[in-house]
Symmetry: C2
Subunit: 446 residues, 2 copies
């Protein structure tokens, strides 16, 4: 059995903690059983491991998230990276092709598709195990999870079961309805409809057949290179709504989308995360501070405060669902990113009168990791090693570096660094254009 | 005629913008007539210049504020720096000794003492001019300003005039009452008492006589070196309450102490200062942001948000008078300081497992200014020049620096830098102790 975890999304609904490089599922804000914090994707992967599900996990994602997935879940996570962002049908088709062609899974093997960001408990995974069994027992070609609605939401798609199946463990699906208006949602609730939870189970061959209507590839590499030929359409439209044999298994346990500050703060590990002091007169207030400087908050209620290198949010919780339009253009670039080798934080950026720019970062490399051999055409970089030990390569010349050493990297100079211990570096970039995309990568054998 | 502006205070009531190096009178938050912003001390000096007062200004201050005064008011401001912090009597006595002994002012010259942080308008200075005239006409030895009270405040000292002088322009003073309780304050209001505004006028000889009861110095240098012999006592107790001939001139115009966020925000130049977006649902909310990153605020009311390198405050205005206890220990050191040569901002500090520390700053030097020739025993410093041109001295060796240059300064190395144009430097400090006090200064002839 195979599990495909869908990790996509970008968006700014959890600004300033989420940015184009760090979607909501990567925010390390939830309480983990060992007393530490974990992100939503770390939580889901942990919960799968603790559940009755015995499948292998493959994470279907995009190139912007690849590094943070490796950083949060380790090198041995299997990932399928889409060459460009399209929609859920092409993403699931690509991952299915990967399982079939690259991993050699059989057409009979059951595949479960699930999102990586629902906030749920054990019962959720029990229902998924039941869905797998339903596919194995040929209850339907496609089996999906139906969330028992708690109110007539207009944010979700609905799944309407056959009325004669009411009360059964497995219900045949009569039809799907996309996000309705409130009146229509109330009618759907009267018909015992479910929210579509985005969890699907099918046999691999079922999906591969649908994929082959668009691309008949000889290898996964070919499929990936022809990814742009797959239609930009959701899995719901392209597969679920067209399927002839669909069943739904109800789930009525805890299930939340922690996609806004209002919903997320209900599940935070603490009211005060980071260097924070909350005064005595601040009921139902949550403060998340990823900056070094302290935050003091008092005399407000029902407020969320969030501070990161991207910015500072102070928002009444009831208004927190509508921050996107305000903040969409506030941060011109991500100021914090997790990378395969660790993470960086931008401390400061300045543009001078003549257009020249400087940008100061702290880089944290994990022991044993390295930054790829690369050059920049528009900037020079000064590295001051402030902690740890490493090896630097400049235009092929190797030297060891430690605290107090400075490495000057001119425009066009190839450079790389490997951390021999955990390494902290202050990097000053200077040039006429300071963007992450100004990079040419080369091979280097460490 | 001489004006002594008292500039003291430290405290954290306007945290995080005020710190031990930047008291409230130096915050550049008020609207100036030319459309820019100005600090309270800049405003008072400007107002004196625009008033009928024709005196020379001497600022009585402490060493922690000396540099920021030069930075805000220019090199040609006359200052008297107390060797240690004591109280208002010794500070005024020292400044009076300076006028008498160092500047050679005559004993007959009228001196006005005034605080540097009242938020007032032109009429305030008109009353001071009348006070000067009253001293010149020998109305009393000591003439002070009485603020017409607007409520029975327990925060101010009161001046009770002779009841038979009621309605006169100049009233003889019957007695003083220090901060009373509310009931006592109401009684004082019934007696037509005034708030003591801390503005005093007298002939220089009057104060020099009182000074000489404690120290009979042959020179100002001697007086300053014996400063510790002066009692730690306020001018009110030591001089005003003991004076035999005291008069008060009433002032009933605009007069505010902008010493808390609640009072300060009423006079800010804008609701949003700095990189700030305020949403549509944030009535009576003020945001002051001195950081580079953006602040977005919405869905709160009657709130002040202030962000600086020292920290981030989010506070309901009615609670803003009581932040001191919460924030007193939040910032271990000032993270922003104005210096004689410009200013610095701390971007980041890290302490590693072995106690070693690093600290990253941005230094901004004004064209023509220089950082004194100095060495540090506990830290090395790496300077990356990110903008401008300058001259660096390292152990006597001179070199020119410009964008992209790196200057490595080892422990014990003497170093200095002069800005040939406005200069911006990223400084990385590393060592086992990173405090401003780790400094030995030397002479260097530029």
């Amino acid at each position: 059995m195979q599990i495909i975890l869908l990790s996509g999304g970008s968006g700014k609904r959890l600004w300033p903690l989420s940015n184009n490089a760090r979607s909501k599922q990567f925010l390390p804000l939830l309480q983990s059983p060992d007393g530490n914090v974990e992100s939503m994707v770390q939580r889901v992967v942990r919960q799968i491991g603790e559940s009755r599900l015995s499948g292998t996990i493959t994470i279907a994602t995009n190139s912007a998230q690849h590094d943070i997935i490796i950083n949060q879940l380790g090198d041995n996570v299997d990932t399928v990276t889409e060459p460009e962002r399209r929609d859920t049908f092409p993403a699931i088709a690509l991952a299915s092709g990967y399982l079939s062609m690259a991993k050699g899974c059989s057409a009979d093997e059951v595949v479960v598709i699930m999102p990586c960001d629902p906030y749920t408990e054990t019962e959720y995974f029990d229902v998924i195990a039941d869905m797998v069994a339903a596919v194995e027992n040929d209850a339907a070609d496609l089996v999906l999870m139906g969330i028992t609605p708690t109110y007539p939401s207009t944010k979700f798609g609905y799944v309407v079961p056959m009325s004669e199946d009411s009360g059964k463990d497995i219900l045949r699906v009569k039809r799907f309805t996309e996000k309705p208006d409130v009146q229509r949602a109330e009618e759907l609730l009267a018909q015992n409809a479910f929210w579509n939870g985005g969890v699907f189970a099918f046999r691999l061959g079922y999906m591969v057949n649908i994929l082959e209507k668009y691309i008949s590839a000889a290898s996964f590499e070919e499929l990936r290179s022809r990814y742009g030929e797959l239609p930009k359409i959701s899995f719901d439209y392209e597969v679920a709504e067209k399927a002839e044999s669909v069943a739904v298994l109800p789930f009525n346990g805890k299930w939340k989308d922690l996609g806004t500050w209002n919903s997320l703060t209900e599940e935070l590990s603490s009211n005060a995360i980071g260097n924070v002091v909350i005064g005595e007169n601040a009921p139902n207030t949550h403060v998340v501070n990823e900056l070094g400087m302290p935050v003091f908050c008092n005399g407000v209620s029902d407020v969320v405060v969030a501070a990161s290198p991207d910015g500072i949010l102070v928002c009444g919780k009831e208004y927190s669902e509508n921050i996107k339009n305000y903040v969409d253009n506030l941060s011109p670039r991500p100021m914090y990113e997790e990378r395969r080798w660790g993470s960086y934080r931008v401390l400061d950026t300045t543009t001078y009168n003549d257009g020249y720019m400087s940008l100061t970062k702290v880089l944290q490399l994990k022991s044993g990791r390295y930054i790829s051999y690369q050059l920049h055409n528009h900037r020079e970089e000064m590295w001051t090693i402030v902690d740890g030990e490493g090896v630097v390569v400049i235009d092929g010349a190797i030297r060891n570096v430690t605290r107090g050493d400075v490495v000057a990297i001119k425009k066009g100079q190839k450079h790389a660094i490997k951390a021999l211990t955990d390494l902290q570096i202050v990097e000053v970039q200077m040039g006429d254009s300071l963007v992450e995309e100004d990079i040419l990568r080369f091979d280097w054998e460490w």
